[in-house]
């Protein structure tokens, strides 16, 4: 099990950041990801592995007011 934005989410072998985003259906063009507090750049999403127990935050990047 991992935590995604304070909610539990099932973990499985081979889960990368990109796999997780696809599973959760995040499709927004501008997304910020942190795993255990560490920023993960978009170019690393496909190879950055998620481990069981990780704490992931996915934020839609907005700047309007």
């Amino acid at each position: 099990m991992i935590i995604v934005n304070t909610q539990e989410h099932p973990w499985h072998e081979g889960m990368t950041v990109q796999v997780l985003l696809d599973e959760k259906g995040y499709i927004f063009r501008h997304i910020i990801v942190r795993v255990n507090g560490e920023y993960v750049a978009e170019e690393d999403w496909a190879r950055r592995m998620i481990r069981d127990g990780d704490d992931v935050v996915v934020l839609h990047l907005t700047a309007g007011g």
């Binding site: 934005n5 304070t6 909610q7 259906g25 927004f28 063009r29 501008h30 910020i32 942190r34 920023y39 935050v57 934020l59 839609h60 990047l61 907005t62 700047a63 309007g64 007011g65």
Partner: protein
């Protein structure tokens, strides 16, 4: 206090708290989408002193979401429309109009005497500038941002680095590089969240923290996350 005007604030805001609220001074930077609704909520609730800062005028593309934008005031300063609106809904509120954009030169003066600064801005560099000014002044900053079906808010302690984490350096031209959709109901929700946090802070019921409220209307979620 004006008992009848504020009767429906009871019992969540007691008469004694209402008097506390009347003594508070709040800087609202940006009087467009978020700012318009925040100003409306704080004025109606009875925040005593509102300092309204924005150098912009209303344009036609503001009409889809900004409370204070109307066909009558296109081309007029946003701070002027905001002041008139506040005085129309609650003449007990003292309004200071500052029809300028936030800058390095005017930030300290804008914050002087305030208990809280509210970020209702539309770009990242100005937000970071406001955060720096708040750090120097020892003031909390109430951040808010919105785009498409998403938004966020945070009541930040002075000196917080949360915004620097939320906006990595390569993303700081985001809003100017690509104009996102700005939808009225999402703007209203983020503004309502900010106004609620502002009131609770001014009343002593909420403390600044390194936490981000994240609204995702695509999934129908509102999360309070460490970031």
């Amino acid at each position: 206090m004006e008992l009848e005007r504020y009767r429906r604030n009871l019992p969540e805001i007691s008469p004694a708290q209402q008097d506390v609220l009347a003594e508070k001074r709040v800087l609202i930077v940006g009087c467009g989408g978020l700012g318009g609704y925040i100003i409306e909520a704080l004025a109606r609730a009875g925040a005593g002193h509102l300092r309204l800062m924005d150098g912009d005028t209303f344009k036609e593309s503001d009409l889809n979401r900004q409370l204070l934008a109307s066909s009558m005031n296109l081309g007029r300063p946003k701070t002027l429309a905001a002041r008139q609106r506040v005085l129309a809904v609650n003449s007990l509120v003292e309004v200071e109009e500052s029809p300028y954009f936030l800058s390095v030169e005017n930030a300290a003066e804008a914050l002087a005497g305030c208990h809280l600064a509210i970020d209702a801005l539309d770009n990242v560099p100005s937000r970071l500038l406001l955060a720096e000014a708040c750090a120097r002044a020892g003031l909390p900053m109430l951040h808010g941002a919105v785009g498409a079906w998403y938004g966020q808010a945070a009541l930040l302690p002075p000196g917080s680095k949360l915004l620097e984490r939320v906006y990595p350096a390569h993303c700081r031209g985001l809003e100017s590089a690509e104009k996102m959709a700005m939808l009225a109901p999402v703007v209203m929700q983020v503004a309502a969240l900010q106004a609620s946090l502002a009131l609770r802070f001014l009343l002593g019921d909420e403390q600044p923290a390194e936490l981000l409220w994240h609204l995702d209307m695509e999934r129908g979620s509102l999360e309070k996350i460490s970031f």
